[in-house]
Assembly symmetry: C2
Homo-oligomer: 179 residues x 2
Amino acid sequence: MRVMGIDPGLTRCGVGIVEGTVGRACTLVGVGVARTSSDDPLPTRLCDLDSQLSQYVDRYRPEAVAVERVFSQHNTASVIGTAQASAVAILIGAKADVPVTTYTPSEAKAAITGFGGADKKQMTAMVTRLLRLDTPPKPADAADALALAICHVWRGHASHRLAQAAARRNGTRTGRSGA
Amino acid sequence: MRVMGIDPGLTRCGVGIVEGTVGRACTLVGVGVARTSSDDPLPTRLCDLDSQLSQYVDRYRPEAVAVERVFSQHNTASVIGTAQASAVAILIGAKADVPVTTYTPSEAKAAITGFGGADKKQMTAMVTRLLRLDTPPKPADAADALALAICHVWRGHASHRLAQAAARRNGTRTGRSGA
């Protein structure tokens, strides 16, 4: 399955697309960062982010979207922008009828490194190894997005199928997700 | 001008539409509350909110949208949901080429009651009086949304025209707004 991982942020929003199945190595399909300018008013920034992320979805046509779940424990100065960016990301997937799942940073870290407290360097190293890349993925911001996508392939496949079944049953468009 | 005020919330999102010009009384055009179920996963809730708010915009065709600005001082347990709901609201206006402005609760209160620390009862009483209603607007949740709309008519008219001029100059689609 093809999964798009999104590490939400208003200034920099990591995007990573991988393909894989449970028990097999994932392959890198695409990677990038959506950026908006802090000089622009918020409506312009949200529109810009919506437009850029929509282009990734149109180009790569993922079967599932995995978005990092926003927590109030985050830096309170940036949590509002992060939450707003995550809403844009989640809405794009949901409106495109693609199941959206949210994962905590710990869930993604544990899935990739076996350790929920892994640091950025460890995460990047494992993403590089798991995708069998010669060099760490660039831009570096996108490593977390790739980790979310890999996490979903490995962890979320069962819940994705459950979500699809539930969606068919309920006639709804979206997958499992926490707040 | 016709202004739609939106008091963002994931469970209850107040919507109020008024018409008026600076120095004249505003009139009530429409009022309501968009609701989503806390039992539903977040992608479903954001989609539901998007759909309901879009219907208000389609029905009332506001010339401007005024959204309450989300602060980190808010209850941290609910601030993420409020920020996500505000992103949905702002994006709907911006994507519909309607200028979006954000106001702090204090700005709205000061514009309506002359006092930035006014309580909910005072705000509802003033909104009722300013719109020359016989009884307080229902649902009560929407009083804050109406206050935002009135605030924009009175405070924001100049900035709205500036935003329109800037939008024409820059070829952008959105109005002034803070984070």
